[in-house]
């Protein structure tokens, strides 16, 4: 009984970071469109941003820093932290060196 409980605790401990790390790509596409694209389209204030403007590693570095506006703003203050993970998953999956580079969120 105790052992089973231990096993569950261990499994949960393993699963939590796994779930927390990998966001949902399709959710990310939605949040990217809803949040990021409100400024990051051609002709708008933020300039156009699409998944393929960076490589997978560049996106990883960008999200690791977690900063927006060239370091002036925390990403988490703009978008909910769990949504940031989803957005990262989407952008990385379609980065310029990914198997399926994408220009847009649509």
């Amino acid at each position: 009984m105790r052992n089973t409980l231990k096993l569950y605790v261990m499994l949960a401990a393993l699963a939590v970071p796994l779930v927390a790390q990998s966001g949902s790509e399709s959710k990310g596409k939605y949040y990217f469109k809803k949040s990021c694209k409100s400024c990051h389209v051609a002709g708008a204030a933020g300039g156009e941003v699409t998944p393929l403007v960076k490589t997978q590693n560049q996106w990883k570095a960008y999200f690791a820093a977690g900063m927006h506006k060239k370091g002036a703003e925390k990403l988490n203050s703009l978008v909910k932290p769990e949504q940031v993970k989803d957005i990262q998953a989407f952008l990385t999956a379609h980065a310029s060196d990914s198997p399926q580079p994408k220009t847009g969120g649509g």
Partner: protein
């Protein structure tokens, strides 16, 4: 004896006085007429107020229903549908009888018409060669990934795509909601379909904004009145369903062909209003001029009142060459844009041309079209006309109609002589064209999925299509002037079968006219000569 003061004034003075009095009266009355209300921009006023009223008069506040509080599992659209159906018990049954659900026409004689069957075009070609899951983002249902889809399962009907009022609803592959969509919130705020609900699919026909139709694109949502008098918020502010009325979820529309008896009459028996034609609201005699009203017998309203299509900021696709697709840079697909920002090359699609403010093509059209299916043998003529229109001058139901002319170059089977449904939308390694960039496996797999014969050989064939233009109606001051058509090199230069004043020459009419002039001159001349010779003046 006349009164001393009543000296008769000379006639010119009387006339001037009358004119002045008349002008004064006219300006006074018109000033009074305009004072009480501001002039309506759109003639009949705006529908914006009508829509607001309709929304406020809804008898149910959906946010009060317990069943819509959720929580719904991420992306579980069917759960929402089940909730809707607890009150709207017959709604799914109604939707399942429509083309929005079936993607084919159940009527006799129209077998093979529809996206879920053998219909083919020269944009994305066909859905049934393995592309269903991707194309089903525009299916009014959930889980449509291949031909095993259960068209009788009520909980697979997608209520929200048409009834979302928040703008937060989005569909993904197989028509499933994006898992990030806040389903409960969307479900609690359902309402009557607005421009956006229809537009999420119909503005994006052909795979992207403005691509297919020419008279429908996303710019309509923010259009000035000059782009579309009906749908612009500066104009009448109408929604699609104000004309495409939808009793029992049957949204009014042409269903590929518009039989003559249906065109200007209510679409369904017992339907109280039909606005599927201009005349349903504007009558068949909307002009002050008798001559303009007479044009209606042979000229569709759209011909003069839609001087050009794609009048928004976006270009519509005019040429799509699949044979040039698949070029890669460093093993990767790429895109090229011209100076106008039009995508002139995309590895996925090939070379393309786009146009804004395009003059339509004019054709005699009685509402019937024949569409080419994957099972049809191609005619020997090139280019292949994929949807020949029916009609001629002599046809009492035919009128001169404006169309978007679209040309393509698409794969076909030169041995069996029919068109091909390639498998295009899929990841690398799947055999799909957009994954592996090879036609042979993509076509072979596509035709196998579609369950159609394929000889193993393919080539490309030029095809043309005509798309009727009926939206983007311009303000009346922008309607065509007479000389746009009544001229030698006018818009109707190539429309056959009749004598058009100002265009046609060298016929009997001209001969008679010239003969009359010559005979008159001769008559006067001979008469004069005779009188001169006889010396009598």
């Amino acid at each position: 004896m006349p009164h001393p003061l009543r000296i008769p004034s000379p006639p010119w003075m009387r006339r001037t006085l009358q004119t002045l009095v008349g002008l004064l009266a006219l300006s006074l009355t018109s000033a009074f007429a305009q004072q009480p209300t501001a002039p309506a921009l759109s003639g009949h006023g705006s529908y914006l107020g009508v829509h607001a009223k309709q929304a406020s008069q809804q008898t149910a506040d959906h946010s009060k229903f317990k069943i819509l509080q959720g929580p719904f599992k991420d992306g579980d659209g069917s759960a929402v549908t089940r909730a809707c159906l607890t009150c709207h018990t017959r709604a799914a049954e109604q939707v399942m009888a429509t083309q929005h659900w079936l993607w084919r026409i159940p009527e006799k004689g129209l077998e093979g018409y529809g996206k879920s069957t053998n219909l083919v075009n020269n944009f994305c070609i066909s859905t049934i060669g393995g592309n269903t899951a991707s194309c089903a983002r525009c299916h009014a249902g959930y889980g449509y990934k291949d031909k095993t889809f259960d068209f009788t399962r009520a909980e697979n009907v997608d209520c929200l795509v048409c009834h979302d009022t928040t703008g937060d609803y989005e569909k993904e592959n197989e028509g499933l909601p994006n898992p990030a969509v806040p389903l409960a919130d969307v479900a609690q705020k359902v309402g009557r379909p607005s421009l956006r609900n229809c537009g999420v699919c119909h503005f994006f026909g052909g795979g992207a904004d403005a691509t297919k139709h020419g008279d429908l694109d996303d710019t309509i949502l923010t259009a000035p009145r000059t782009e579309d008098v009906h749908m612009s918020k500066q104009g009448a502010g109408m929604y699609c369903v104000d004309c495409h009325v939808a009793p029992s979820h049957q949204v009014g529309g042409p269903d590929y062909v518009i039989p003559a008896d249906r065109r200007e009459q209510p679409k369904y028996a017992g339907e109280e209003t039909s606005r599927m034609s201009c005349t349903a609201c504007h009558s068949s005699m909307p002009h002050d001029s008798y001559i303009l009203n007479r044009h209606y017998q042979k000229v569709a309203c759209q011909t003069c009142h839609i001087p050009a299509f794609a009048r928004g900021k976006l270009g519509s696709n005019l040429w799509w060459d699949w044979s040039t697709s698949g070029r890669l840079k460093d093993g990767k697909p790429y895109k090229e844009e011209d100076a106008n920002g039009f995508e002139i090359y995309n590895s996925m699609h090939g070379e393309m041309t786009w146009g804004r403010n395009v003059t339509p093509t004019y054709v005699w059209y009685n509402g019937n079209m024949k569409f080419t299916r994957l099972t049809d043998t191609l005619p020997a003529t090139r280019p292949v006309v994929l949807n020949p229109t029916e009609g001629s001058y002599g046809d009492p139901n035919a009128k001169i109609w404006p169309f978007k002319f679209h040309e393509g170059n698409q794969p076909y089977d030169p041995v069996l002589n029919h068109l091909i449904a390639p498998y295009t939308a899929g990841p690398a390694g799947s055999g799909a064209y957009w994954g592996d960039w090879k036609w042979e496996p993509a076509i072979k797999m596509g035709m196998a999925t579609a369950g159609l014969p394929y000889s193993g050989k393919y080539d490309f064939v030029r095809t043309t299509m005509l798309w009727p233009i009926t939206h983007m109606v311009a303000p009346k001051e922008d309607a065509l002037k007479c000389t746009e058509c009544h001229a030698k090199k006018g818009r109707l230069e190539a429309v056959p079968g009749f004598y058009l004043i100002g265009r046609d020459r060298g016929t009997g009419v001209d001969f008679i006219g010239i003969a009359v002039i010559i005979l008159t001159i001769l008559g006067v001349g001979i008469h004069g000569v005779i009188r001169y010779l006889h010396g009598r003046h």
